[in-house]
């Protein structure tokens, strides 16, 4: 990354840290809910996983999904105010623009994850360093499709619409992915759940526990969602810039 793009990204980061939306949805709410759910049930197990670990990954998944999807809100805002046109008359390239956006989303997600891990430690979550790392790596991979989803929504929706849309969509992914607890061990809902990338975000905790990575199905689901969303996002981006041409 050039020095210019690095400085640009630094201010993008600063701006995101200052936004109330990020603070509430990616940091405060997940943390509060984690303590509410796991605080009184720290010795129970969910699907054989200690409850604090399950909900630590669940809430980290939720907060970090919100963090990366929020990229869309910034893109939508920049489209609405004409800032994207202002950027097009600077030497900042399109790829550098998106790199800055994705990098910002990921750093915010890491902040959210780190906060939840710390909370997890206070409730007795205990893992070896290797397992912490495996779990984090899996979460970061599982966030890829949500990053792309944010970019897609940012090019489709107005600033007014995107807040509720992001909240709704992420909540749905969270619910069906088992963030609030598993949706049974078999049956239709379980199948739906397993086809969502959010399910595999939550399962990062279970994988870490067993020391295994995701099964093939996990990689396939995350890969397919990424590919499809990427195609849609690229189309939305082209349509959006061509309308101005």
């Amino acid at each position: 990354m050039s020095r210019g793009a690095a400085t640009y990204t630094r201010y993008e980061l600063l701006r995101t840290l200052r936004s109330t939306r990020f603070f509430l949805f990616s940091l405060v709410f997940p943390l509060l809910l984690f303590y509410l759910i796991a605080g009184g049930n720290r010795h129970q197990r969910v699907q054989g996983i200690p409850l604090p670990l399950y909900f630590m990954t669940g809430m980290a998944a939720w907060g970090s999904m919100m963090a990366v999807v929020s990229t869309g809100a910034r893109i939508s805002g920049e489209r609405q105010t004409g800032w994207n046109r202002q950027l097009r008359i600077t030497p900042l390239s399109v790829s550098a623009y998106f790199r800055a956006k994705v990098l910002t989303g990921y750093l915010m997600a890491l902040l959210s994850i780190a906060l939840l891990y710390t909370a997890g430690l206070t409730l007795g979550v205990h893992l070896s360093p290797a397992k912490w790392l495996t779990m984090t790596a899996l979460i970061l991979v599982g966030l890829v499709p949500f990053n792309v989803l944010g970019i897609l929504l940012g090019h489709l929706l107005s600033t007014d619409a995107i807040g509720p849309a992001m909240g709704g969509i992420v909540s749905l992914f969270a619910l069906l992915g088992g963030v609030w607890g598993p949706l049974g061990d078999k049956g239709f809902l379980h199948d739906v759940s397993q086809s969502l990338p959010s399910y595999w975000l939550v399962q990062a905790g279970r994988s870490a526990l067993g020391g295994d990575l995701w099964p093939g199905r996990g990689w396939l689901v995350v890969g397919l969602w990424t590919a499809v969303l990427f195609r849609l996002a690229a189309r939305a981006y082209r349509r959006d810039t061509q309308r101005q041409m």
Partner: protein, 302 residues
């Protein structure tokens, strides 16, 4: 830097569906000139500017900025622009925003320099979402000028500014231009074009209808218009009347553009007693544009 080639727009045309926004615009601007692009709303000023900046691809014609394609000129930091509508991104202070943008260019002004130039020093530590309309425009000017560009393009920069803010803004523009820079600004205020440009390019309905020194254009569109029914008289004859700067025929009627309509009217009536249905109109800009661009005048234009 000393650029010999300036800005060349050649036969630029752009349509949006059935609407021909710009129809064959030719403009050549020398390095160091301050040019106003004057015209009513919908004249095609913004579309022309968007093509100049490479934001819109022309259907036909070419753009050259200091001998380069627009994108290449932009990559070298030679062009700065304040687009017509636009707000600032939020959650940063004015100084942070300007620093962020300065980082993108090869040889920008220092942040303090451009804040001073744009008159933003007193508001440097305010968050961008807490600025008034006039303050926002000043910051947008700072963002446009931060690259220390050779060409500065301003698309209706003073729209939504009060009189005082407007004055302050033009002082900043002048200070910038005094460094030997080229400035092109779009406006629909004749007074602004007259006061701050060396040259006015007058646009209406997608075409350039006049191009010349500010004083000349001002006489042409700032005067009055006499309309009369007067069959069988050639416009060339009427052009000889005192106070008349332009004459056209529209069927049986003639339309005279006048720098001095009183003198012209007296002379017209004594020389051509047959003239009837007389009408004298103050040529507000809109009116003047319409007169200059009504369909019957296209014969000589094409």
């Amino acid at each position: 830097m000393g650029f010999t080639a300036g800005i060349e727009l050649e036969n630029l045309s752009k349509s949006y569906g059935p609407v021909q926004a710009v129809r064959g615009v030719d403009v050549s601007i020398a390095a160091g000139e301050i040019v106003a692009l004057l015209g009513p709303n919908g004249a095609g000023k913004s579309t022309t500017i968007d093509m100049l900046l490479g934001l819109t691809r022309p259907d036909r014609g070419s753009v050259s900025v200091f001998g380069l394609e627009p994108a290449a000129a932009i990559d070298r930091g030679l062009v700065g622009a304040m687009l017509q509508s636009g707000a600032l991104i939020r959650d940063l202070t004015v100084r942070e925003l300007v620093t962020m943008m300065a980082a993108l260019y090869p040889s920008p002004f220092t942040v303090d320099e451009v804040l001073t130039l744009a008159g933003c020093t007193p508001i440097a530590d305010r968050r961008t979402q807490k600025l008034s309309g006039g303050q926002t425009q000043r910051v947008r000017f700072a963002v446009a000028a931060v690259s220390n560009p050779e060409l500065l393009v301003l698309d209706e920069p003073t729209a939504a500014m009060d009189v005082e803010a407007r004055h302050g803004f033009w002082v900043s523009m002048r200070a910038f231009a005094a460094r030997g820079k080229t400035v092109l600004f779009a406006t629909h205020y004749l007074e602004e074009a007259d006061a701050y440009a060396d040259r006015i390019v007058l646009m209406a309905a997608g075409r350039i209808v006049a191009d010349g020194p500010a004083t000349e254009i001002k006489a042409r569109v700032g005067g009055r218009i006499i309309r009369a029914t007067l069959p069988g008289v050639a416009p060339a004859e009427l052009l000889a009347l005192p106070g008349v700067t332009g004459a056209e025929s529209r069927g049986e009627a003639v339309v005279l553009t006048c720098a001095d309509s009183d003198a012209a009217l007296r002379a017209l009536l004594s020389a051509y007693p047959a003239a009837r249905d007389l009408e004298v109109k103050g040529a507000g800009l809109e009116q003047a544009f319409l007169e200059l661009t009504a369909p019957t005048t296209e014969v000589d234009g094409l």
